[in-house]
Subunit: 478 residues, 2 copies
Amino acid sequence: MFEERLEEFEALFHPTSIAVVGVSSDERKVGSAWVKGLLSANFKGNVYAVGAGGGTIAGSEIFTSLRSIPGEIDYVVVCIPRRSVLSLLDDCAFKKVKFIQFFTAGFSETGDAEGHELERDVAAKARQSGIRIIGPNCIGVYCPESRFPSGPAQEPRIGIDGPVGFISQSGGLADKLVELGIARGIGFSKGVSFGNGADLDAADFLQYLAADPKTRIIGAYFEGSRDGRRLFDSMKKIAQVKPLVAWKGGKTGVGAEAAMSHTGSLSSSAAIWSTMLKQAGAIEVDSLEELVDVLLLFQEVRNWQGISVAIVGGLCGGGGGISVSAGDACSEEGLNIPALSETTRQELVNILGPVGSIVRNPVDISQAYGQPSILHKVMEVIMADANIQLVIVQEDADILVKYGCLQISDIINGVLIDFASRCSKPVVVVSPPGSAEMDRLRIENQLSQASIPVFPTMERAARAIARVNQYFSSHQGT
Amino acid sequence: MFEERLEEFEALFHPTSIAVVGVSSDERKVGSAWVKGLLSANFKGNVYAVGAGGGTIAGSEIFTSLRSIPGEIDYVVVCIPRRSVLSLLDDCAFKKVKFIQFFTAGFSETGDAEGHELERDVAAKARQSGIRIIGPNCIGVYCPESRFPSGPAQEPRIGIDGPVGFISQSGGLADKLVELGIARGIGFSKGVSFGNGADLDAADFLQYLAADPKTRIIGAYFEGSRDGRRLFDSMKKIAQVKPLVAWKGGKTGVGAEAAMSHTGSLSSSAAIWSTMLKQAGAIEVDSLEELVDVLLLFQEVRNWQGISVAIVGGLCGGGGGISVSAGDACSEEGLNIPALSETTRQELVNILGPVGSIVRNPVDISQAYGQPSILHKVMEVIMADANIQLVIVQEDADILVKYGCLQISDIINGVLIDFASRCSKPVVVVSPPGSAEMDRLRIENQLSQASIPVFPTMERAARAIARVNQYFSSHQGT
């Protein structure tokens, strides 16, 4: 599907050379930051700097014009003021540039006639020369495989290579998504932030990601669309073959006005978007956190069986209230928390004793007092219960630290990682923030490196599970 | 109101001596952990250890019976098995003990006849001797002023002394609340976890907190109540004089079953509880996170004016998408995001320029590129706008790190702290987690030490603001 996009966008995500226009020897300028960022990330192609004043940046020549660059140029990053962009297009046409990304703002998002007109003129002129535009008013491409960082940072972190592709009309949210990927173990195939979307728009990039063999899951942040019909038709096809997780910003009146000022997007009503996403088969989410949660869960889970969950808490005591509130949180998101079989309950009583634990689902194993051998037995019994399709474990660093079990958190994690790798049922961990943040981050890193998805609250884990199940229950056998 | 509780419970929250029953020289036993925890926290009264085997713990004698302790005993922590608790009550009566807290479990929460009967017998026998019971199946009192730590940890952190009092049927959630207080800067006057509530129940403790001059705000986690009428009547009075923030666990079928196994609580339906809380004038919350958010905001805000908020984002770029999604999040929680006055907008254009920022509300100050002098001017202009009653600032450590503004985050925080201390309008900060957690924690600590409440997402900040406003809009002039 959309295989033609692969060749068409090859030079977009894997350019052999990038020219940054609007660079000076002043390293604080944004154009200079783009150049330094590409160099520091070890971008795999050539990097050229262009600036009217010439000079050098990071030891390299600053060409005084695009035309004076000796080699070919696939991708141009534009950081000059808007008044100069039309004449730059002539230089780009001369150099047979394939893609121009305008970091430059001041187009339709300003809301004034001048900005609208300039955006139309730029798009028309580029079209005449066969150049495609990303933006204007955006940070463009991100591709860990090409070592193409996200945004104009001098020392960007490149993030993790992986199966998640994304599009975002907002550069700030794209940047944050990359950072949250680093934090939570999400790997990215490609990303693109396309701002006003004057030429290439959401549908184009989504079609590419649908065809891209490196992309297994697609995330999207929209503010609006200039061609809703085309976007809908594309999403409908794409959602047949890959999970498409979509967040629509500007759903409220205030948000929509902000979207108009941000990317010149004319937002339709929230209800229209929700209906469209649903009919297209996309999975709608309501916040950046939820987008990240759902992408992470899609990335990590194998052998999805359903939403009949067992909840295990109290790894080091204190699991009673957690059992109650976890039961509430999962129920409210529509998960099933089935009764454990009589055999399972009896075995849990044998392991934990009759007092101080809760041997129904949710299971409170407070009486294990952090002993990994007991956790091991409990997990074995629960995993074997035919009523259970997924296990959620609550591992609270504060409680582990407080009750002296932290020194064995590595072993506890080892037990969980062992089960997650051996069993056909997915394991999900909830590790809530608190006062032992270093310890929590250590737990999260260990687990996410072993492909166990970690969530900060039971509510967020439950919601992500419900969303992922929404996909699999309508794509049985895929 | 309820002033008689102050004297009655003086020995509960400020006991002159505590005896822990069920201690051995084996330091891994839970009774031993209680003793070591009280000593390591420098509890202000005497600490006695009692255990049939005698010996020593942490250099102190373990008395072989309660009767052999030379001095008076205000508060007894019981960690012996349930079969021995009735005979212990005789010793307690002999020693004229005032309060007994049963860490011991195995009472009504087991659901069996034996547990129910034992709980009734214990309550009846204690009543005959004038002893009040906390629990059974609980961790009892927490009071930073008395240096009385929460729960049986060997080296507990005592937390911060402050204006928030809480009650919790769950010991685990009480512990977590204390840790979240440490993490987020909430100070506690007193707390109590009372498990099954066989004698002293929620209403008793709430009455004390209402009378307690050190308690300005009350938080509560309920699983059920044995006397709903009395609880309702108490809450109705209490909510007149102090904000009462209440979370009901076990609102779903699964949660209610867990509550029955946890604290023997017979939960009424969610709708009944919600109606009761509303009619009592309490502020209902739906999760531990929300409870903490609302308590924090109540603690920090002065001069509440209302929910007409200005949102400021993009402190170091990347504020466009944040403006859109923040507008959505605040609108969805019912906050007003009024248009800025024409004067304010014109002044913002003068400060930020016409391109690349958003000078409507939400305000995106990306063009400030992290310069504190610009933030200072922006804050001054917005604070002066008569349409605005509260300012929410989004400060994202990931973006500050990425775009090289982190070295000035101290200065940015200085600007915010300066405004918060000088202005009559509250300032709230949203600082979302990500990949620069050390930096985020540093920002959060700086701000919360200066009494600026910090929230991890715009959604949670907005919801807390709406909840706090719920109180002030029905208590005008208090």
